[in-house]
Amino acid sequence: MMKSPFSPRSQADSRVISVQKEDFDVAALYQALQQNPSSGAVVTFTGLVRDLNLGTAVNALFIEHYPGMTERALSDIVEQAKQRWPINDVAVVHRVGRLEVNQQIVFVGVNSAHRQAAFDACEFIMDYLKTSAPFWKKELSDQGEQWLEQRESDRVASKRWS
């Protein structure tokens, strides 16, 4: 059996928070979330590098973060989600460094007894991550390098939870 990144199952519900250069394995992350017998629902979100952003053909992304503060911000967001919804295990993985088109950027996975809590918590974590975790994306295209601006739609999305 594959080693679970969620430490002992008999203990309280687990949290995985990781900021890393390496790619992540959605299959292994899902498998760990699937193993909680009191969870009837697993919701996962995966963000990928798109080939096109606001009309620009993208070659790659570079993602910078603030080591230490980023992990702390992600923990805070997960903690808030656990206080708002009856969810069990949570995993948040975000990559940094250079990422090519189609590569995986971010994973958020949540399990819960019922589907609505799992969907809501997963969306909430993504919305807050987008506006309050210190990551910055630079887009590399044939037109050169460009730091991305925060989207108004992301600010709106995170405000709907408050």
């Binding site: 963000g47 603030y66 702390r72 950027i105 987008k130 506006t131 210190p134 910055w136 601006e149």
Partner: protein, 81 residues
């Protein structure tokens, strides 16, 4: 007191990774920002509304009072995910 300033994303590219500052006892983040802004053109952007500031990895506002050896970070709005 000694303050360690760190910069991220486009601020880092324009101003450098980090800089050491001397501040008077009890200075606020706003006072430190003014002091840095006075270094010249590119530094003035630290005073922009949209630039965020964290002290010891917690986001703070301009009124926050600094202590010796604080790590102060300035950065643009975040764009991860």
């Amino acid at each position: 007191m000694k303050i360690n300033v760190r910069l991220f994303a486009r601020l880092r590219e324009q101003l450098g990774d980090s800089v050491q500052c001397e501040c008077p006892e009890g200075a606020t983040v706003a006072a430190l920002t003014d002091q840095l802004a006075s270094r010249g053109d590119n530094w003035a952007q630290l005073k922009s509304q949209e630039i965020l500031c964290a002290v010891n990895q917690q986001q703070v506002s301009g009124e926050h009072r600094l202590a010796d050896n604080d790590e102060v970070a300035f950065f643009p709005p975040v764009t991860g995910g």
